[in-house]
């Protein structure tokens, strides 16, 4: 009996245990199988966070991969008003740090309980100061901000962005879709302390980096010389464009007035205008190149044919057109060199309006060049059927037609390269990471179009050289290189009278260098210069300065001997024209602080009627004769050099073999003398003729 009782008790315990296990097991089964999806969703809600990744704009580089525009993350401050202890006090403290009016802050804090921006994209010092307040309910979030580290360099090409990094001008606008990467979201798992422990690796669609054809140094040269010219001439506006005539690549594009894209919204709209592609003007005498190109290509004249320029006046359809000077008999070469309007009209009349119109359109006038920058104007070229009887005369000398600087330089580049019209472009390539992307669509490469025969282009090049050597463009003559070009002085229309003004002109010069193998085409255009206003007087010198510096920078071999180095015009001594920006304006952290001022000459009280006096610098050469160091030891060379006051640079070892400068050259005290040392080659002995035993 006791045995049975124990057995029964055991069974009861086992039964209870069994029931308990079954209950647990059943509950587990119910939760894991029937309520699985519900609890999984709750767990995910608790643990998963969806993070939106702020898109980062791709960078913009020059042709040598120097950054011109880049985005970096900066702090933006936001508030969660529901977490704030005292909104009024917080507003007061924040106002003192960020210089935002207190009432503005209070209004913002009252507008929402969960999220409100305090200030977006704060400078680092302000973000630190705000963080130092340690206010409850104030948080920071990283946002990308666009910076232009070179400030106003190439501003019109680069463009600018708004607060949300949307492109509003220039390349930033033109390629906005590619440069902006898509906003993406990644899912991360977070624990109870909000620490991430399992972030998904989303496929990043990074923004495309843009490589431009611009060269930073050439761009700076163009902008600097334009700025100096603006200060000298006090023109209302100006442009300088530098192009590679064999490819259509734009190496520099400078406009005045200019702006700093880091503070674009503070700049007036006029300063943001890309005049090189948008501003229309009558090209004036530079258009004679088109007239002559058409005439030569049609074989209706030759360079040495003589035309009667009627002593400075000609009648076309009853209208009298006067030349700027009375010319008599001129060869075609001289018509271009001296810029005779009468001569150009006679050539155009011989050519005829229909053929002339065809060549004008072939050179790209009256239509878009297809340059990959926004805001391009196609210019004004009246349809042939709308030409009046006098139109052929006016157009042949560059009036009644509106062109943009980019159209004109493209046309002149066609003459420089032998007759091929290239599409001007500033975009050299697109890259995503290391992957080079193909250029397609409107920014893709296009085949050049032949507009004139190579012989025509060669003839014109020769004639354009005559403009620089003997004609109106003498001030464009380069030291060390051949150059060719054409001056232009086009009268502007006076809006008050509706007639051509005698005082307001567009002074321009377009040319290329060197002639034999043109490396650069340069256009200089100055709107309404004060005082001297002819293209040959004000624009040609700018061409000279830009061309000499650019050709030297590009290591283009000289093709003419230099002028006598002893007597030189110190036109580079321009202390009065130097940049007046303070060095502090170039601090690497505050990119919007640079003031874009014209040089001090602009602020003189009375206008300059005469050009400033030229300072002549006489190069007296050196007063120390360089000795011959051949065969001397390093110690001897050093001692002798120091005794003479020279600075020896010793290369190699052994005895002196070569030296620079050569022996007997005259140098100044402290000049560097480079001496190369080596082991002299021993004289070879005659071979032994006997036999070895």
């Amino acid at each position: 009996m006791p045995k049975n009782r124990a057995h029964v008790r055991l069974l009861i315990v086992a039964g209870v245990a069994f029931l308990w296990i079954m209950a647990v097991f059943g509950r587990l089964t119910y939760l894991q199988l029937f309520r699985h999806s519900e609890y999984l969703a709750r767990a995910q809600r608790q643990q998963q966070r969806t993070i939106e990744i702020t898109p980062k704009r791709g960078a913009i580089y020059d042709r040598n991969m120097r950054p011109l525009a880049m985005s970096i993350p900066v702090d933006s401050a936001f508030a969660v008003p529901s977490e704030m202890a005292d909104e009024t006090l917080a507003a007061q403290l924040i106002s003192g740090v960020l210089n935002i009016p207190r009432d503005v802050l209070e209004t913002r804090l009252e507008s929402s309980r969960s999220f409100v921006w305090i200030a977006r994209k704060l400078p680092p010092e302000k973000a630190e100061a705000l963080a130092a307040l340690n206010l409850k309910g104030i948080y920071f979030q990283k946002e990308n901000q666009r910076f232009y580290p070179k400030r106003d360099l190439a501003a019109h090409v680069l463009g600018f962005v708004d607060l949300d990094e949307k492109g509003l001008g220039g390349i930033e606008y033109q390629l906005d879709e590619q440069i902006r990467s898509k906003s993406e979201k990644i899912i991360v798992m977070a624990d109870a302390h909000q620490r991430w422990f399992d972030g998904s690796e989303a496929v990043r669609d990074r923004g495309v980096n843009v490589v431009l054809t611009l060269d930073e140094k050439i761009q700076y040269i163009a902008e600097r010389e334009l700025q100096v010219a603006m200060g000298k001439t006090r023109a209302a506006a100006g442009s300088v464009v530098v192009m590679n005539p064999t490819t259509g690549e734009i190496l520099a594009l400078a406009n005045w007035p200019k702006f700093n894209p880091n503070a674009a919204k503070e700049a007036p709209a006029e300063a943001r205008m890309n005049r090189a592609v948008s501003a229309l003007y009558e090209p004036g005498s530079t258009f004679k190149l088109i007239t002559l190109a058409a005439a030569f290509d049609q074989n209706i004249t030759r360079a040495d044919e003589v035309f009667d320029c009627e002593n400075g006046a000609v009648y076309v359809a009853g209208h009298r057109i006067r030349d700027h000077k009375p010319f008599g008999m001129l060869k075609v070469a001289d018509i271009l060199a001296q810029s005779s309007d009468v001569g150009a009209i006679k050539i155009a009349l011989r050519l005829g309006a229909p053929k002339f119109y065809d060549y004008i359109r072939a050179f790209g006038f009256g239509s878009l060049t297809g340059v990959d920058m926004p805001g391009e104007t196609k210019g004004i070229v009246r349809r042939l059927e709308n030409w009046s009887q006098i139109s052929i005369g006016s157009i042949s000398m560059g009036q009644e037609v509106g062109v943009t600087p980019i159209q004109l330089i493209t046309a002149v580049s066609a003459i420089a390269n032998g007759g091929l019209l290239y599409r001007p472009h500033v975009i050299a390539g697109l890259k995503r990471g290391e992957t080079v992307l193909p250029l397609e669509g409107s920014i893709g490469s296009t085949e050049p179009k032949r507009v004139v025969r190579p012989e025509t282009a060669a003839t014109l090049r020769r004639l354009m050289e005559g403009v620089v050597l003997n004609g109106t463009g003498k001030l464009a003559r380069l030291d060390g290189w051949t150059a060719a070009g054409k001056t232009g002085s086009a009268q502007k229309i006076d809006p008050a009278t509706g007639r051509y003004s005698r005082t307001q002109l567009i002074a321009s010069f377009t040319g290329f260098a060197p002639i034999s193998n043109p490396t650069v085409t340069i256009l200089v255009s100055l709107d309404s210069p004060v005082g001297e206003h002819e293209g040959g007087q004000v624009a040609a010198p700018v061409f000279k300065r830009v061309a000499e510096q650019v050709l030297a920078y590009l290591d283009v071999p000289r093709d003419v001997p230099l002028v006598n180095p002893r007597m030189l015009r110190a036109s580079y001594r321009r202390d009065a024209m130097t940049d007046s920006a303070s060095l502090e304006d170039f601090s690497p952290t505050d990119f919007s602080s640079q003031a874009d001022q014209l040089p001090e000459a602009l602020h003189e009280s009375k206008p300059r009627e005469t050009p400033p006096a030229v300072t002549v610098a006489v190069d007296e050469g050196g007063d120390i004769g360089v000795p011959d160091f051949s065969g001397m030891t390093m110690r001897d060379v050093t001692e002798r050099s120091l005794r003479l006051g020279l600075d020896p640079v010793l290369v190699g070892s052994g005895l002196a073999m070569n030296q620079t400068p050569r022996a007997e050259a005259r140098v100044r005290r402290g000049a560097k003398i480079t001496v190369q040392f080596g082991t002299p080659v021993a004289k070879k002995k005659a071979p032994h003729k006997g036999t070895w035993k």
Partner: protein
């Protein structure tokens, strides 16, 4: 009334049983023993499996935390890198360098005649050019 009779004291006899089990030999059943060991081993393996699984699970979570920490540091380093590259680009602003050259160092632009071209380099000139290029800071 009858009085209950007292029961006579009973004598208890304590018998001593001398049990000698030494002659008994426990019969070991190898099959059962083997099964027992096998079951025990299997149980150990299963337990080890579960232990390993749990260890790996939590180790993965720990590594995930570390990975996210490293990613955060990588993002910070990348941001710092960007800032420094921006600063470098700003310091290399041609206008800034030009201003320093003119105003701080007192340099002027060389005139064309002061720039000498080397067309056919002699040995010393070539060495001089090479020396300058080697020592030029990028």
């Amino acid at each position: 009334m009858t009085r209950k009779k007292k029961k006579a004291a009973q004598t208890e006899f304590h018998t001593v049983k001398r049990i000698d089990n030494t002659r008994l030999v426990r019969h070991v059943e190898p099959v059962k023993l083997r099964n027992l060991y096998r079951t025990a081993a299997l149980g150990c393996v299963v337990a080890a499996f579960f232990m390993l699984y749990i260890y790996q699970h939590f180790h993965c979570i720990d590594l995930s935390f570390q990975l996210e920490d490293l990613r955060a540091r990588q993002v910070q380093a990348a941001a710092l890198n960007s800032e420094l590259r921006l600063e470098i680009a700003s310091l290399r602003n041609p206008r800034r360098i030009d201003a320093i050259a003119h105003r701080q160092l007192g340099l002027t632009q060389p005139l064309p005649a002061q720039m000498q071209e080397f067309n056919d380099l002699s040995g010393a000139e070539e060495a001089a050019v090479r020396f300058v290029r080697q020592n030029r800071t990028p």
